[in-house]
Each structure stands twice: as structure tokens, then as C-alpha cells.
């Protein structure tokens, strides 16, 4: 039995119940007290997202200032339950327009109850697709569109879609201007040793799409990935074009992608949902271009003084630039005074996170600004030993750059009416967890 959740609770950080939906009788009504008493008020809270209390298992997740708790009494499928929570939150967000927090829940609690009724019945997940649910649960809570005039034409249509097979797209969409926006968003994860060698490095990327297309279009996407290119040259019996090809370690697709065709022809073809969605996700570990190199030297001079020198090198093209670069250099807790010299951007000491924070708003390629700082410490006997240099962390965004080198080769749109479409493609690379030990 996959989930069969017995109850779902939404709590705020103090433990007050915001939403309380019991699906089954096999758990008592006061499970929420058990959660508060044995998880929220103990040190257990951060230690594990799954806990068993008196025969019931609690799965909980914190999202902004809300805890979402699922209670089960059977041997449930955990991955499914967590995924359900994530999807449900995404659904709520699409209804509230962005934020999911305590206030949003308080303001919309009737709506949430309505949704909880539809997305889960007797503990079994039902339809969670926002596209379809929005057809009959409207934000204002007015009477559903096909019920006002029962003789109206859309009745059979709309209800078929409520549970129908092509669950992700409505028929009969019309746009004046047919547009597709494609965003390739990559986040680079790096772990570098203090000696400058790469311990671990990978890229997780996703392709986000926004479609404003009429009718039932068929889309086909071509990337410069190795397998796809090889297959294509094989099919067309001509040698593959030279140029960089990318080896994707693993790919997952939105449910709209025809996976059979991907496996046989290695092309990504699909009928897209209307609006915004995540088309695919991929992971790459080989041949990653790191956008930044960080070269730190941190010297402890005696007991009360430290010298910090950090050089950051941008290794992408000189015409490109990175935005919102933040470098966090940790310093000991007992830091008393700091003084800086930076060749670019601004730096300050932020006591709340025990870091020197160096911000550079616009960071051109092929440059290497430096920061040198002197840190004075309060001399204490006890604390001195325990400073264990945490890693330097970095945040950035580099537009028009992909750390993997992935490129869109083509995006084709077919629709029986044969309209023209405008395609927009953007690339951006962000820092995932970009850590440099020092």
C-alpha cells in the first residue's frame, strides 16, 4: 500500500495547528499533541524527518515557517509521501501566487481544505495537477464552471479532463502570439580541498519552459548531448558534426515527454502543458567548467591576529559577467575588529554568521579581484582551540553560461494549424553548494 496517510497536519513553528485533516480513523485525534510533545519540544526536531511514536510514524518537513506532518499507521512508502508533500506545496503555491507560509495558510484555509479533499481521498493520493484542479476549484471559490449551466457544452469535456489521460493540457487554447520560453538553469556544486584540488564537483541542471501556444502542439527539443547526437548521425547516416558534446549522467523528464521515443530515438518530444513547467532535469559529473576559482590564504598570527587573503578568478569568457557574487569567508567567533582592502565590490564583517561577507554586484569574466583583511581577535584561552575553519562559501549567477556546456540546438513546434512561433532561450548558471576549504 503506497501511502494511505491517516492524517495531514500543518503547524506553525510554535506548534499551533493551522490545518488538520483526518483521513482515516486508525490514528487517534490527538496525534498532533504527540508530535508536539515528542518531536517539536525535544532535540529530535532536526535529527530525522521520520519518527515513530507509539506505533504511528510521522513524516515531517519544514517549509518556510510551517511544518507539514503526515501521520501513517502502516508500513508506508516514504519517498512517495515526501514527494506528495512537495507536490502539494507546489500546488498550494500556484493557488496563493508564490508564497507558502503561515499567513498565506491562515488566509486561505478554506481553500486548502478544499484542495486537501481533492488531492487525497481516504489517504490515497488522487489528482495533484494544478492545471486540472484549477478547472473546478477556483481561487475565489465560486461555483465550478460546468455546474452553473448544466446544459453548457464544456461539461463532458472538462470532467473528462479531471481524470483524463492527457491530464496536463486543456484543449481549445488560443493565443494571439505563440511563444515559447526556454530557460536552462544549472547549479554547480563544488567541494574543493584547501590544497586547491577538486574533491567533488557536479552540475544539476533543469530546463524550465513557459509555453503560450495555441491548440495541441507537438514539440521536439534537440540538445548537444552525446547520445542524442550520435543517434541522430546514425539515423541520418552522416558523421556527427564536430564540436563539443556533452555526456549526461542521468536525465529525468516531465510526465509529458514521450519516454518510449526518447529511449528509441533519443529525442525529447512532447505535448507541453500550458504555462510554466519543468521539462527535464539532468546531472553531469564529467567535464564541468567551473566559473570561479578561489585561492584563499588564511594565516593565524599569534593568538589575537589573523590575516586573510582571498583571490577570486573568473574563468568564463571576458565578454560575459556574473551577477550577485557573494563570498563568505568564515572567521572565529571571538572576532573583535576587522579591516579590509578590496580591489572590487564591498566587504564587511557580519557577526551573526561569523563571516566576512564580500559582495560584488557585477563580476566580469577573466578578472581576478582580491580581498585582503586583517582580523583582530579577543584573546581567550578556552575558545582558541576550537576554531575549526569552516569552508568558504560562494554564491553567484552567470547568465548566458552553462557550466556543463549544454546548448539547445533546436526547438521545433508542430501544430496542425501551422502557426509560427517565437522561441526564446536563456542560459544561467548558479552556485549550488560551492565550498572551498581553507
Amino acid at each position: 500500500m503506497p501511502v494511505a496517510a491517516s492524517a495531514i497536519y500543518l503547524l506553525n513553528l510554535r506548534g499551533d495547528v493551522l490545518i488538520n485533516r483526518l483521513y482515516r480513523d486508525d490514528v487517534g485525534g490527538n496525534m498532533v499533541d504527540a508530535f508536539r510533545m515528542h518531536i517539536m519540544q525535544t532535540k529530535e526536531l532536526g535529527t530525522c524527518p521520520v519518527r515513530q511514536i507509539g506505533g504511528c510514524s510521522f513524516f515531517y518537513m519544514r517549509i518556510s515557517n510551517v511544518y507539514i506532518v503526515i501521520v501513517v499507521s502502516s508500513n508506508a512508502n516514504v519517498a512517495c509521501a515526501f514527494k506528495f508533500v512537495v507536490e502539494a506545496v507546489a500546488l498550494f503555491k500556484s493557488y496563493f501566487g508564490g508564497a507558502f507560509d503561515e499567513d498565506a495558510i491562515r488566509n486561505n484555509f478554506v481553500l486548502i481544505y478544499e484542495l486537501l479533499d481533492e488531492i487525497m481521498d481516504f489517504g490515497y493520493p488522487q489528482n495533484l495537477s494544478p492545471e486540472i484542479l484549477k478547472l473546478y476549484i477556483t481561487q475565489e471559490g465560486v461555483r465550478s464552471p460546468f455546474s452553473s449551466k448544466p446544459s453548457d457544452k464544456p461539461v463532458p469535456n472538462a470532467t473528462l479532463q479531471v481524470t483524463g489521460a492527457v491530464g496536463w493540457r486543456r484543449e481549445g487554447l488560443v493565443y494571439k502570439k505563440n511563444e515559447v520560453f526556454l530557460d536552462i538553469v544549472e547549479s554547480v556544486n563544488l567541494l574543493m580541498s584547501s590544497k586547491g584540488s577538486v574533491l567533488r564537483c557536479d552540475v544539476t541542471g533543469k530546463i524550465l519552459m513557459k509555453c503560450f501556444l495555441s491548440g495541441m502542439p507537438d514539440l521536439k527539443l534537440g540538445l548537444n548531448d552525446k547520445i542524442g547526437l550520435e543517434k541522430e548521425s546514425q539515423l541520418k547516416s552522416r558523421p556527427a558534426k564536430s564540436g563539443k558534446t556533452i555526456e549526461l549522467d542521468d536525465v529525468t523528464f516531465h510526465q509529458c515527454v514521450n519516454l518510449t521515443r526518447f529511449n528509441s530515438e533519443k529525442t525529447v518530444s512532447f505535448v507541453p502543458p500550458d504555462g510554466e513547467f519543468e521539462l527535464m532535469k539532468y546531472r553531469i559529473t564529467e567535464g564541468v567548467n567551473l566559473p570561479f576559482r578561489v585561492l584563499p590564504t588564511i594565516k593565524e598570527l599569534g593568538r589575537t591576529r589573523m590575516e586573510v587573503n582571498v583571490k577570486v578568478k573568473s574563468v568564463f569568457g571576458a565578454k560575459m559577467f556574473a551577477l550577485g557574487v557573494v563570498i563568505k569567508i568564515p572567521v572565529p567567533k571571538q572576532t573583535a575588529k576587522t579591516s579590509f582592502q578590496v580591489t572590487s565590490g564591498r566587504a564587511k564583517y557580519q557577526a551573526s554568521i561569523d563571516c566576512l561577507v564580500w559582495k560584488i554586484r557585477k563580476f566580469p569574466g577573466q578578472t581576478e579581484p582580491t580581498l585582503s583583511a586583517e582580523v583582530e581577535l579577543i584573546s581567550t584561552m578556552a575558545e582558541k582551540k576550537s576554531w575549526t575553519r569552516p569552508p568558504i562559501q560562494m554564491e553567484f549567477q552567470v547568465p548566458m553560461f552553462t557550466a556543463s556546456g549544454l546548448r539547445v540546438r533546436f526547438l521545433k513546434v508542430w501544430e496542425k494549424s501551422g502557426y509560427n512561433t517565437v522561441e526564446w532561450v536563456r542560459y544561467i548558471t548558479k552556485a549550488g553548494s560551492y565550498e572551498i576549504r581553507c
Partner: protein, 808 residues
């Protein structure tokens, strides 16, 4: 923060202060009850919202039931939904008033709007009042035949709800067979999926009551049903796909080509964006190929990339769930993941539950080629700010050292830890060095030099202190100061709170005495005196024992206390392989996260008393009798729970003294110990009852509960293989030996049988699972028995019966 136990009764200022607000609401609701004036719906909506919000925070608003029902006559769908929600919550405590709602719900069940029909039907079934079930049957029956799939979808789950209210009503109305028909014929896949959920639940609950239930349950995993679902799998929603995939894991394909067909069909599911679908597919692949070793290995290679992706994408909670599964796989096939060890490096900001699993993973995948890198990385964590993680990583280094290979470099690292001058690092490193020395005594020289420099004053934790003292005693001839350090520790005897340390101190000083008598004599005297005067029973007893044995004969004492030791080659594994297999069978469920099979935390008898029974007395699952158990007993039982499962199994298996001693207590606690009184020595010849009878549900129940008594592989003669063209042949043969078959299946070359036998004139049963592979001519036999002591005798009997098969 207000104490939560009272939070219901002492609401914060923003909440209603009690009766007056409720009666106010009541009046207002009454005012609107009959009114149909324009705008009245809006005011009603505000009032309903208020009621629902009170209900949410736990205030009892059931007294408004009548008024709410009166207000329910409305065409506003949101009002309707709020009213349904309210009614669903309180109908159970107000069964009489619930009757009032039946009327308007039944009317709504015939509304022309399918949405209203569905909603009304759902609410009708959610009333959960036993004496109203007669009103459910009609609407459910027509709901299942509704032209709209939304209504059908709701009706199917409604049948399941009805089953939980009144099983007999549901069965008598023949709903299960209607569901079965719908499952195989409905055009809407969500209806199909809900039918599947409902049927699975109904038939497994029914299994112990009716004879057809097990058959019906088997039918769900029969070839036609499975193929039907497989062919439609792409139409299902992602959640329903998980459901179907889980069902497929229970299916036994007849031959390998069928296995490959299924895997080919499902391979693209590994690329699904929903991690739950991917995990479910992984389970199918792993289970299907269990008997095909080579393919099974290829499956590991195939699922590696998708699983690693799942770890790095999604929330930490999701990573945690996936990592737990990965951990299970890594334990089964460490080499598969050994080149991917970098994926398990911890990130600085990850939650500690993820880090902890990653540390375990790094420990498991370490081999000759990557040990150096892994240990280097682990040493980085030893300086981590998060002290528990720092400790775990030191332990991980130690575990790797004990597993293998290039101990040389690791020992140096551990010794460096000792010099790091942090109390907790020193403490854990000491414990490890002790274990290491037990396995590799040849390193004593290097280690002792470093250990000797540690001041015992800096070691406070009992475990570490005990380890240090053990080393002082064991290597006292090499450590110059050993007698004097021990002496100073004995001087502070009274300040030593841990009995474990004091016990170790006694033994160490004895060992030291045998090696360096003149220097230790006075310390030994002091230790024995202090020990005999100790209030702790074990310390007292040990001191007295040492004292007496020394007086009897010193050389005998030496042979007892400090005999020559053999290096430990393998440290005991904490879990039996049987339990590990059980967990693997339950892949993709909580068992993997808890690292124990589901019967240990689902079945009441295995769970022991709920840990918090006294505080949560009104938990519905709490067992009443457990609350009576005196608190001291509960404590003892908690200790028992702390024992690893393997130790528990051992205790149960042995019929020795210890079990006798603990038996009384365990039984009092209702822990579900198998009642094994002193079994008389088993008679050499076991006689079986030729007319034994056992119904399938009892068999299943027993099979779940009993531990495996014997597990072995038997070879079959060529004649036997020749005779085994169909399962029936073996069945008849075994029956002639009074071993009966309860279920069988499969086609050449794989057959699976479940047999049972009963002891003559006793009701003691033997259960057997026998998997025969005709191509390898091997039979895998697992035997479970009510009476463990005779299982060997039965096994011999079974073996001889099997060996006669095929010989005319």
C-alpha cells in the same frame, strides 16, 4: 510556549474564550438557517469559516451540529464543502444528529452536476456512523455506475470507506466484485487505480475471515491483471504508477523472457521526474531478478545513476529517504558504488541526518582503491563544528580500519586524532584504538607510545576511560607508568561514577599485578578493598571473586583473568542476514528507514508497549494493559529494546539459563516471546500427522511471525528434475510423506512451494518454503517451526522425502 497538553483548554487570546462565543455563533447560524435573502450566503460563509477555524485549532464545536445542518441547504458549493467537512468531523460523536444530514446528502447524490454528486457521495461515506450504513449502499451502487468518472472515482474509495465501517455490509452488497469489474474495464485510470487500492486493502483485511479472500488476492497478481495494468501504465498518474509498480513486485513471472519483457517495458520509468516512481521501478527490477545473479548485478549498474540523481535533487527529507535505500543497496553490493564514493561527501550545510547516512555509506563503499581518499575526507569532518558528526566520522574511520586492508595509514590518522587535543575526539579515538588493538595486536607498539602520553584527567567519558584503562592493563609491561596511573585512578575510586569504568579498573589492575607485582601490589589491595565495599553489585562481586581466587592460587587467577588472547578476526554483525533479507523484501517502505522489518514496528505484539503510553493514554492504538505496567518494568523493557535485534533473536533461540531468567519478565510485558517451556530432548524419530490441516490465513500469519529455524540448499537428483514437470507431481509425492502443500506456483525452471506438516497427535506445525530451480537442480529450503527444538529432525525428514522424489 504553552504546554501543549493544555493548549486545547487554554487557548491564546485570539481564540474564543469559551461558551459565550459558541452560543453567539449558534444564534447567528439560526438566524440564517431558513433565510434565502440575497447576500445571505456571504454572511453564512464568514460564519462557517469561523466554525471551521475553531474546529481546526481543536475547539469542540460539535454543539453547533444542528444549526450547521439547518444552514446546509444552499447552492453555494464552497459553503457545501465547508459543511461537508464539518459534518464529516463530528458525525461520529453525534450519530443521532448525523441522521439529519443523510437527507440532504442523498439529495445531492442525485444532483445533475457531477461535482456535487461526487462531493456528496464522498461526504456521505465519510460520516463513519455504523447505524447509517444502510443509507450508503444505494448511492454507492449508483455512484459506481455513474457516467462521470469523477463520481466513479469517489464511489470506489467510498466502497473502501464502507468496508471499514461495516465489512459485512460491503461484502454482502457484492461491491468487491463490482470493483473488480471496474478495475478491468473502466476507461479512466484513476478509477482503475482506486479500485486496485481498495481491493488490495479489502482482501488483505478479509484474508483471515473468508476463504475466497486469499484467492482473490492472488488473482490481483495473476498474469492477466498484471499484463492489463502494465499495458496501461503510462496512462496512470504518477501516484497510481507507484501503486501498480508495487503490485508488480509481487508477481512471479514464469520464465526469464517474461522478466526481460517486463523490465524493457518499465525501463523508461527510471527516467520519470517523480522520485517515488523511480524507486518503485527500482524495486521491481531488483525483485524480479533476485534469482538471476548476473542480471541482478546489471540491474545495480543500471539503477545507480537514477538513484544518485535522486539523492542530489529535491529536499533534504527526500534525499534522506533515498539515501536510506541506497544504504541498503550499498550494504548488499558495496563494489557497485565504490567508484561513486564522492557522491557521499558531505556538504557543510546539510542536515545532520543526511550527513550521518553519508558517513555510513562512505564506510561501506571503502575498498583498496579508495580508502585513502575516503579516510582523508573523513578526517576533515573530525574537525567539524557539529560534534555528533565529528564523532561519527571518527568512528567511521575506525570501522574502515577494522574492515580492511591498508591499516597502516589509518592507524597513523587515528593516532593523530589522539593528539588533536579535543576531548570528544580523544574519547572516540581511544575506543577505536582499543578495538583496533584487539584485531591487530601487532600495532600495539606504535599505539601504546601515543596512548601513554594521554593524561587520564582529560578523558572523562566512561567508554573512553574504560578503553584507556583496558589498554593500561593489557599493555602494562610496555607502558612504564601503567601501575602509577592505575594507582592514581584507584585513589579517586569514589569519584568514579560509572560502574563500567570501575569494573575495568579492577580487571586492569589485576592484569598489571600479574606482570609487575611489586609495583602494583599496594594499588591492587586498595582496589580490591574499594571494590568489595562498592555499592554496585557487579563491582562488589567481581572484587570479591578476584580476592578469593587470588587467595586460592595466584597462577590460577592469572589463567582466569589474563589468559593469552587471540586476535579478533571479525566483529559480530549486528543484524542477522534473515532480517536483512526481510528488509530488502520491503524495499521502498518505512522498514528501510527504520532498518527493521515491518512486523517489528507494525504488529502490536512485536512492538512492545508504546514508548509514551502513559502520556498518551488516549491514543487509539495504545494497548490498555500496557498502561498498567509499573514504570520500573517499562524501563527494563526499554533496555531490552535497546538490544540489537540480532541479540534478541539469539536470546530467543537459545534455551539456556539466561532465557529462563528473563522469560518471566518478558512474558509479563507481553513482548510476544514464543512460549518455549523447557523442551524435552527431542525424540530421535519425528512422526507427522498424515491428516494435518491448516488454513491458508493461519499459515500466512505463522509464516510472518515465526523466525526461520533452518535455511539450507539441497541438491535434487536428475530423476527428480525429470519428474518435476508440473508442481502437482511433487505435491502428491510429498503428501505421501505427510507433508502437505498449501500453495505452489511457477513454471519450469522455477517452482515455488509452501508446505506444512503437523506433528503426530500434537498441534505443533512446521512451515516450509521451498524454491526449486530445475536448471541448477537445487532447492532452497526455509523451515519455520512452532517448536524450534524439533526443526532439525523435521528437516531431516523433509530432506529424505524430497530425495525420494522421482524414484519409482
Amino acid at each position: 510556549m504553552a504546554p501543549p497538553a493544555q493548549s486545547q483548554r487554554s487557548p491564546s487570546p485570539s481564540q474564543p474564550s469559551g461558551k459565550s462565543e459558541l452560543s453567539d455563533l449558534k444564534l447567528q447560524l439560526r438566524k440564517f438557517a431558513g433565510s434565502r435573502a440575497p447576500g445571505v450566503d456571504d454572511s453564512k460563509r464568514e460564519l462557517f469559516k469561523k466554525v471551521i477555524s475553531y474546529m481546526t485549532i481543536g475547539i469542540d464545536v460539535s454543539s453547533l451540529f444542528g444549526e450547521m445542518v439547518m444552514c446546509s441547504a444552499t447552492s453555494d458549493i464552497v459553503l457545501k464543502k465547508m459543511c461537508y467537512l464539518y459534518v464529516g468531523n463530528y458525525a461520529k460523536v453525534n450519530p443521532d444528529l448525523a441522521l439529519l444530514t443523510i437527507n440532504f446528502l442523498q439529495r445531492d447524490c442525485h444532483d445533475q452536476d457531477p461535482m456535487i454528486r461526487g462531493l456528496a457521495l464522498r461526504s456521505l461515506c465519510s460520516l463513519r456512523v455504523a447505524n447509517l450504513v444502510e443509507y450508503l449502499v444505494g448511492p454507492l451502487g449508483s455512484g459506481l455506475k455513474d457516467s462521470n468518472s469523477y463520481v466513479r472515482m469517489v464511489a470506489v474509495i467510498g466502497v473502501l470507506k464502507l468496508y471499514h465501517i461495516s465489512a459485512s455490509t460491503c461484502i454482502d452488497a457484492d461491491f468487491p466484485s463490482m470493483l473488480k469489474h471496474l478495475m478491468l474495464n473502466d476507461s479512466d485510470t484513476q478509477v482503475v487505480a482506486n479500485c486496485l487500492s481498495a481491493l488490495q486493502e479489502i482482501w488483505s483485511a478479509e484474508a483471515s475471515r473468508s476463504e475466497e479472500a486469499p484467492r482473490e488476492r492472488e488473482a490481483l497478481i495473476s498474469k492477466p491483471v498484471i499484463y492489463y495494468l502494465l499495458n496501461r501504465i503510462k496512462e496512470f498518474s504518477e501516484w497510481a504508477q507507484c501503486l501498480v509498480l508495487e503490485l508488480i513486485t509481487k508477481y512471479v513471472p514464469s520464465d526469464s523472457s517474461e522478466i526481460f519483457d517486463i523490465m524493457n517495458l518499465l525501463e523508461d520509468r527510471l527516467q520519470h521526474a517523480n522520485g517515488a516512481v523511480v524507486l518503485a521501478t527500482v524495486k521491481v527490477f531488483l525483485q524480479l531478478t533476485l534469482s538471476m545473479t548476473d542480471v541482478h548485478q546489471q540491474v545495480y549498474e543500471r539503477i545507480k545513476a537514477p538513484l544518485l540523481t535522486l539523492v542530489s535533487s529535491g529536499s533534504p527529507e527526500q534525499s534522506y529517504a533515498v539515501l536510506s535505500h541506497l544504504h541498503l543497496l550499498v550494504m548488499r553490493a558495496p563494489y557497485v558504488f565504490s567508484s561513486d564514493y564522492k557522491h557521499f561527501y558531505c556538504q557543510y550545510n546539510e542536515p545532520s541526518y543526511v550527513k550521518r547516512l553519508k558517513l555510513e555509506m562512505l564506510t561501506a563503499v571503502a575498498n583498496e582503491s579508495n580508502t585513502y581518499e575516503i579516510v582523508t575526507e573523513l578526517c576533515e569532518y573530525a574537525a567539524n563544528v557539529d560534534i555528533p558528526i565529528a564523532r561519527e566520522s571518527i568512528r567511521a574511520v575506525g570501522k574502515i580500519a577494522l574492515q580492511q586492508y591498508d591499516v597502516n595509514a589509518i592507524v597513523d590518522r587515528l593516532l593523530q586524532f589522539l593528539e588533536m587535543d579535543k576531548d570528544y575526539v580523544t574519547a572516540d579515538a581511544l575506543v577505536l584504538v582499543k578495538d583496533l588493538l584487539r584485531k591487530y595486536p601487532q600495532w600495539s607498539h606504535d599505539c601504546i607510545a601515543v596512548v601513554g602520553n594521554i593524561s587520564s584527567k582529560n578523558v572523562q567519558e566512561p567508554k573512553a576511560k574504560a578503553a584507556l584503562i583496558w589498554m593500561l592493563g593489557e599493555y602494562s609491561q610496555d607502558m612504564q607508568d601503567a601501575p602509577y596511573i592505575l594507582e592514581s585512578l584507584i585513589e579517586n575510586w569514589d569519584e568514579e561514577h560509572s560502574a563500567e569504568v570501575r569494573l575495568h579498573l579492577l580487571t586492569a589492575v589485576m592484569k598489571c599485578f600479574f606482570k609487575r607485582p611489586p609495583e602494583t601490589q599496594s594499588a591492587l589491595g586498595a582496589a580490591l578493598a574499594a571494590g568489595v565495599a562498592d555499592f554496585h553489585q557487579d563491582v562488589h562481586d567481581r572484587a570479591l571473586f578476584y580476592h578469593r581466587i587470588l587467595r586460592y592460587n595466584v597462577s590460577v587467577a592469572e589463567r582466569v583473568v589474563n589468559p593469552p588472547k587471540q586476535a579478533v578476526s571479525v566483529f559480530a554483525d549486528t543484524q542477522s542476514s534473515e532480517i536483512k533479507d526481510r528488509i530488502f523484501e520491503e524495499f521502498n517502505s518505512l522498514s528501510v528507514l527504520y532498518q527493521k522489518p515491518s512486523y517489528m514496528f507494525i504488529d502490536k505484539e512485536h512492538r512492545g508497549p508504546p514508548e509514551f503510553a502513559d502520556e498518551l493514554g488516549n491514543l487509539s492504538i495504545g494497548e490498555a494493559e500496557d498502561n498498567v505496567v509499573p514504570s520500573q518494568r517499562v524501563e527494563e523493557n526499554d533496555k531490552d529494546l535497546l538490544l540489537t535485534t540480532a541479540e534478541k533473536e539469539e536470546t530467543r533461540g537459545s534455551t539456556g539459563h539466561s532465557q529462563q531468567a528473563s522469560f518471566g519478565i518478558d512474558d509479563l510485558l507481553g513482548l510476544g516471546m514464543p512460549a518455549v517451556p523447557d523442551a524435552p530432548p527431542s525424540p530421535p524419530q519425528l512422526k507427522l500427522n498424515a491428516k494435518a490441516a491448516l488454513d491458508p490465513s493461519t499459515f500466512q500469519q505463522k509464516w510472518r511471525q515465526l523466525p526461520v529455524a533452518l535455511s539450507q540448499e539441497l541438491s535434487l537428483s536428475p530423476q527428480a528434475i525429470a519428474a518435476l514437470t508440473a508442481p502437482q507431481a511433487l505435491l502428491r509425492h510429498m503428501q505421501s510423506h505427510s507433508i502437505h502443500c498449501i500453495a505452489s506456483g511457477g513454471q519450469s525452471p522455477n517452482f515455488k512451494f509452501f508446505f506444512f506438516a503437523q506433528k503426530y497427535k500434537e498441534s505443533s506445525n512446521y512451515l516450509v518454503e521451498c524454491i526449486i530451480n530445475t536448471s541448477s537442480a537445487k532447492a532452497q529450503v526455509k523451515i519455520k517451526a512452532d517448536d524450534q527444538s524439533t526443526s532439525q529432525a523435521f528437516s531431516t525428514l523433509f530432506e529424505s522425502a524430497l530425495s525420494k522424489f522421482g524414484i519409482p
